[in-house]
Amino acid sequence: MSRAVPSKHALNIIDRPIARNKLDIPTVSLSAFAYLFSELISYAMDRAASITELEDRLDRVGYDVGCRMLELLSYREKATRRKPEILDMLKHIHSAAWPYMFGKTADDLQQANAADDEYMISDNDLLLGRFISIPKSYSSFVPGSLVAGIVRGMLDSAGFPARVSAHFVEQPSSSKPTTTILIKFDASVMQRQAALDAAKRG
């Protein structure tokens, strides 16, 4: 009699390692998610008086997701210490959280030219907006607001309070606009970063 192989579900959810292999990453059905997200937007739309309020509502939903996700991913990575550097944190979002959510890393992570405290994470084809055609009357609405909320939640619970917003940026090379998540860190974060940099330089 062969011994039963322990299934991966025998491991507690937070003890499961982050899958390195793409095929091992557990996924939910995109259709099911798209319907849920569509209903979430309809629900928020019924209760919001303006597009800004609608985006705010999505952002608040995302915030809670972000707080929990940072917790879960850090447990699974067995990260025992917190990374105080801004770039480390952003890279974590760009190349650990993004694959966990969307099955690929974000397409771009860059610092804004104009300001030191602004960073941008871009995705050329954000999964959330793939099926959504935005009518003219809602032209300023960005479905990526949910992701902005998730990023804000992750940053906030890691100790990087920031203002995060989602924008569409038209691309000359493609018909689809890129979703850009704009992150503006609090002054306190920038001060800490400056202190860290000074300490490094000795």
């Binding site: 259709s31 319907y35 569509s38 309809s42 959504i132 055609s133 018909s175």
Partner: protein, 153 residues
């Protein structure tokens, strides 16, 4: 050369909710289109009741001298009509693909109200692309029914 003339979508109460013409020469007047939609809806309903065959689902194909009209009825009662050149093969597969696109780009769009007129840019684009790729579909599967690929394929 197999040509696709037009696509119409009829909601479950017989109203035309979408129409798109792919050949400028085969364009129908808007009133004619609306009339066609409601007449087809009624004929389809009558046919499924009058048919001696048990479990008849209505008219699937109407053949005329200058065009074929293929119809796919979804379980929800929404009907997809394709006007094509006579004797076009594989139209059922194309209709299936369009139904799939409808459930992706129309039903998953929070700005679409069910049973209302479809105004979704992404759906327009996806339908255009599917019709453009129709000749390739014929090359890929000459005789047998085409298996629908996964989403985004």
């Amino acid at each position: 050369m197999s040509l696709i003339y037009s696509l119409y979508v009829i909601n479950k109460s017989g109203g035309l909710i979408y129409s798109r013409d792919f050949e400028p020469s085969a364009k129908l007047d808007l009133n004619d289109t609306l009339r066609l939609a409601s007449i087809w809806h009624s004929l389809h309903a009558i046919a499924s009741q009058l048919s001696p065959a048990p479990g008849c689902g209505g008219i699937e194909l109407l053949q005329a001298e200058s065009f074929d009209l293929h119809c796919l009825q979804a379980p929800t009662g929404t009907k997809f009509l394709l006007m094509v050149e006579p004797q076009c093969p594989q139209v059922t597969a194309l209709l299936g693909r369009i139904y799939e696109l409808y459930s992706d780009f129309v039903m998953k769009n929070p700005f679409y109200e069910v049973e209302q007129v479809i105004k979704c840019e992404l759906f327009d684009e996806a339908v255009d692309l599917a019709v453009k790729r129709y000749p390739l579909m014929l090359l890929a599967a000459p005789q047998q029914a085409l298996v629908l690929g996964p989403l985004g394929a």
